[in-house]
Symmetry: C2
Subunit: 347 residues, 2 copies
């Protein structure tokens, strides 16, 4: 069955070429995809002409407006009503597309998505969700920066969304949830995380609370889902990316700065190539906006066509798995189970 | 001039041998050091007998008690009054030692140090401070976990402590301070970081506020000092350590899993050795407890003798640079300059 996806043709450092080529890769992998592509027709048309198969699967909608990478979200929201980004989200709202994918300004995309799509029943605030290539397994982490401060109820909603996401995207039947903290003992952390832990312990399946986890656990992959507020999650993600990049660069320098280094690289090349593939950031591209009445995926702004194609795949998977209906359903069950806990806490 | 340092002989995974050997390395590097070594005499004496030069520089004080690595800080505080850790801190309080170094239980060490030594004038809460091997330069970061939640005033105090520390230990004359946030724009983050930023902007030299920084900046080394609350700082440190370890292990696997990998390693060995040295975690061992009436350094529990010797060096440097007197003095100047700001905010 054909699956229409709205694309912001103008978002991302290498847009629009990267978007068009990414869509072509995604289509070759998944021929049921269709695209509604928003952006500057004069620039997009020649790019599409290079990919006849893609051209047949694309409806091109012209707009000259786009959201700048450094635009303030509040300003983009007010002034960007005909931008390629906004039109892609509108297409989801109107049912012309089942999901939207953009590699543009994250803050603007979240602001627009919140206003246009609104949150799912039972969800107070949407979260940005990502997949982290940890040592043992891919780990789902949220929130990556949509909410700098969160109360315990919000963290529980994130846990529900993360659980449904891990089942849909990673195929884990009963993912364990870890609540990020400064230590694993029950008394660690502030009131918010301790209260969230109490609520998660009282939640019914499929919620499977694995207790507090530390930064190291995220990297080791001790659980399948890590829940935290957007401040800590954002810092965590950027540090992990930064350290990974520093090591890649240091390794590259090691293998190019001396003759022996260069020779060693040539000899060990097959092994090093598989190392590079394992940690290829493009394979983990795509931050999902969860908790909205519609699927929106944010591709990394600096990614290439291959990375963008993965973000498109994640959007398609989320739609096909009925993720949003599942989130609503599980959230209802959790809220029902937690009602006595909430009443006890309030009295 | 001789400098007496109190050592917790029983703290750390490889204690007591690691402590004694670490002290021997530190002494060989810095012959003015003297040690007051607390712990089980029956185990420490034979170890000291292997290092005649160290033996002459050590006063051994027997105690059979020690704080377990997994002991609850509150319990250790009540029941560990004659533990090797507590006696080392007492020695600083009593002036028998100029600083204490322990590789034991961090929470217990902080709890004891707070109760025994109390905070410096003008400082509400001590912080755990570390040095991070970033791309461009070593970066000072605090708090690493002593305070899960911090108000703006506390973050400003951390900035003062971090500045004095960076001058003392890294020799940077006017270190730039970055406040960790989810973005660098002035409007990002919560009220606490925004208010702390306002206060830091109004602070006199040597405080040099470089604005908000993100997780990536910590890794890149865009500033010399990064200030954050203990929750985020702890997660940041553990993620950075975790990712670094994951890469080291993946690299090792790459060079041992195939014949070409092994050969490549042999050829490139000199270059790879310098890479390993650059990121050797032992060189960055030692988390400093800043803001107390006394110098206390926490060595990583899993470190070896060489790592422990670096923690001892940091303790000696902090004493010789008169760090605590400088913190008190700078804090007085900052509080004076901020008094009008605080009055304006309160009215």
């Amino acid at each position: 069955m054909s699956l229409p996806i709205a694309l912001d043709g103008m978002g991302g450092d290498a847009a629009p070429a990267m978007v068009v080529e990414g869509a072509a890769i995604a289509l070759a992998r998944d021929p049921d995809l269709r695209f509604v592509l928003f952006g500057d027709e004069a620039r997009l048309r020649p790019l599409l002409d290079r990919h006849p198969e893609l051209r047949a699967a694309v409806e091109l909608v012209h707009t000259a407006e786009f959201v700048a990478a450094d635009a303030k979200p509040s300003l983009a929201l007010r002034q960007g009503r005909t931008s390629s980004m906004r039109l892609a989200i509108d297409a989801v709202k109107e049912g012309r597309a089942a999901a939207a994918v953009s590699a543009g300004n994250t803050g603007a995309l979240m602001a627009m998505a919140k206003v246009v799509l609104r949150t799912l029943p039972g969800i107070d605030r949407p979260a940005i969700c990502g997949v982290f290539p940890s040592r043992r397994r891919p780990v789902v982490i949220l929130d990556l920066g949509a909410n700098v401060a969160c109360d315990a109820e919000t963290l529980v909603q994130f846990a529900v969304m993360g659980t449904v996401f891990a089942r849909a995207i990673l195929g884990v039947e009963a993912p364990r949830i870890g609540l990020l903290n400064v230590g694993t003992e029950e008394l660690k952390g502030d009131d918010v995380v301790r209260r969230a832990a109490d609520m998660l312990r009282a939640s019914p399946p499929p919620i499977r609370f694995g207790g507090f986890v530390e930064g190291t656990d995220l990297v080791e992959g001790s659980v399948e889902v890590v829940v935290t507020d957007g401040f800590t999650g954002n810092v965590a993600l950027k540090i992990a990316e930064g350290v990974a990049r520093m090591f890649r660069d240091a390794l590259k320098e090691t293998f190019t700065s001396s003759l022996r280094g260069k020779l060693g690289y040539l000899v060990a090349r097959p092994a090093l190539a598989s190392l590079r593939e394992r940690f290829d950031p493009r394979r983990y591209n795509g931050a999902m906006f969860l908790g909205l009445n519609g699927v929106v995926v944010k591709s990394h702004g600096g990614t290439d066509a291959l990375g963008f194609s993965w973000a498109v795949k994640v959007a398609a998977d989320l739609v096909r798995q009925g993720t949003n209906a599942r989130i609503t359903e599980e959230m209802r069950a959790v809220a029902h189970a937690l009602a006595p806990v909430a009443r006890a806490a309030a009295s």
